[in-house]
Amino acid sequence: MSDMQWQPSTKIAALKKRALVIQRIRQFFIDRQVLEVDTPALSHHASTDEHLHSFQCAFQSPYANDLVPLYLQTSPEFAMKRLLCAGSGSIFQICKAFRNEEAGRYHNPEFTILEWYQVGYDHFQLMAEVDELVQQVLGSQPAEQVSYQEVFLRVLQIDPLESCLEQIKQVASEHGFADIARLETDKDILLMLLFSQVIEPVIGIQAPCLVYHFPASQASLARISPQDNRVAERFELYYQGVELANGFHELQDANEQRQRFEADNSKRQAKGLPIMPLDTNLIQALQQGLPECAGVALGIDRLLMLAFEQDRIDHVMAFPQSRA
């Protein structure tokens, strides 16, 4: 059976259910007058995030000899924000995103992402909308909401914002990660370890769990909270051990965005990772002005895994990477 690689890894009946769910999601946004958009998967620019690895390819123009490097998007965020700056109003997109070096039970290097932006929303308003969508698709109970700080205090009895590196190392060692803790100098890596290995398995079991206000050092493209500069207005959704969505109250400041991209690239350089061409189009668009908005990306395949009670992402897509 294992050499029947031409066959889909998912039954046709499940693929029919998949199509229906995606149709329902689309209707959810049409009902709310959110505009569907279609932005390019290939870009001259790429994410600078040190933990994201873009696929690179080369464009051969019929009018030039030199190959032009192009990158497959890791999410449609940059292009969608340019549309927002150009006055699109609230928008959504269901498309493919590509992340190299990611494969496993919950990861396929090519996956379907739902990303949307609501103009005039903050992260709390968007969290409520994410909850509503997930309840509709999964029939789940209303999501629990808890801050990143509270969830660390509750599960690990440690304050992730105030504790120093040594204290975090101590907790990591106590939870069986002594080998990683001994050598690690980046507090965020240890927080990510504790979050993914110790906290994620115990939250969002009965009802989905929205965790908000991640440390400012893990802000990504979220704005820093004006009330508490230790945290970013960023949230994530977890349900039954699966990370489903990541959202931001979006950073509007073009200079700060450029500085973050450059800081990312400095980190990349220090680690010997390739320097990525930062999206100057996005910076220019932000200079023009991003409306006050919140945006979120949700993994459709993972949502379908939960909807269909599957334990591997391969079981909700027609052809995972190994059969692609």
Binding site: H51, G104, I180, E184, S196, E243, N246
Partner: protein
Amino acid sequence: MANFSTNEFKSGLKIMLDGEPCNILENEFVKPGKGQAFSRVKIRKLISGKVLEKTFKSGDSVEGADVMDTDLAYLYTDGEFWHFMNNDTFEQIAADEKAVGENVKWLVENDLCTITLWNGAPIAVQPANFVELEVTETDPGLKGDTAGTGGKPATLSTGAVVRVPLFIQTGEIVRVDTRKAEYVGRAQK
């Protein structure tokens, strides 16, 4: 021995951990959307037999373990060591009590066993999946009983005790699945 990076981890790879050779059973990729990737690995320690979970940061590497499995025929025990022979080269290897462990009760003369060698020395002995052994002691069963009604205990020539159907008598040769310590049937003559 070479070092192996987390992206070379797969089931069957032998690595060193806390000074003990280990076999990787499973490797799961774990990664937050915005954040560091990890490998959560299920490992069996080859000397203690303990199974444990261990998390590595993606890209980290560990030392490989010079571990190999070889199929050897069991010869005899002198009380201290259990002697095995390579049927092709006639080379002999002696395993101690620690390496043989509980599997001593499944060692049948001339049967091929899988011997795990670490740096050339035996650390584990895996018997054949099925062995045939004589019943040396069991209660007389009821005549005519052919269906399994829970059976009865039977002591085999190596000292192993398995449950057998009531019709099995002392002196009979039975076939046993060593992985589950379960009676399979009467030996085929």
